[in-house]
Symmetry: C2
Subunit: 144 residues, 2 copies
């Protein structure tokens, strides 16, 4: 039977393919939209964590994002070199680095938020607002 074509034979119909390529398409659109602000989607994720929290340590940010602390070091190296974040030892525990958005970093982040919202809108433009709501809700359920 596997030698006969059937309804599920098209590789592009496999759920894994659809999900992976949808994620890749959105990531590509996001990176392009954020490039003018000197960040990519991965950087934006870190900035989101920093922006809606009290100043956090590198480890806290890394754990929130689910990435290794050594990966966090390299990520912050770039953002710090660009003047988007600052690192300084936590006076209360000098093993930790307090990471904060700079003023220019905060402005870049605000602009990036607008661009990011626009990207999500453009990505979902082909479906109805209701379908978009359902899609997001389904994704949350599948990850729960």
């Amino acid at each position: 039977m596997s030698t006969e074509p059937n309804g599920t034979a098209d590789p592009h119909e496999v759920l894994g393919y659809l999900l992976k390529h949808a994620a890749l398409k959105l990531a590509t659109m996001t990176d392009a939209a954020l490039a003018p602000f000197g960040i990519d989607g991965k950087d934006f994720g870190a900035l989101r964590v920093l922006a809606h929290r009290e100043p956090a340590s590198q480890l806290q940010v890394a754990q929130t994002l689910g990435i290794d602390r050594t990966t966090m070091v390299a990520l912050l190296d770039v953002l710090e070199r660009k003047g988007i974040v600052t690192r300084r030892p936590d006076p209360a525990d000098r093993r930790r680095n307090v990471v904060e958005l700079t003023e220019p970093g905060l402005r870049a982040f605000d602009a990036a938020q607008v661009a990011h919202a626009e990207v999500e809108r453009a990505f979902l433009a082909g479906i109805s607002p209701g379908a978009a709501q359902d899609f997001r809700s389904t994704l949350r359920t599948l990850l729960a």
Copy 2:
């Protein structure tokens, strides 16, 4: 305003995060389910292309999957070493390799198809059949 928490501040609510991690979760489940057959999700994709076509060249399979032909070489090296596929020069054009599933490879593929269907079912178990249909349909639309 970006210093104030708001409804979109949780990194885990970002569509890009949801999509990426849904794709990763399904890929992990798929790899685990296919491991008993000596293949992973990426191998399974190649076997799907081989199984529902007349014997194809390496390049044809690679292009269908959207991967580089050099990547195809390494992928087939493994499958050939495991006895799942065979490669032989096409008599009609000896630059090409005809790639075919072996008998054991075909049996493994049939079993893998069952396991794969079960994985998709398990992945979607938390939502209704109708919602699963809509989800798949939405993904197709978003990639169109």
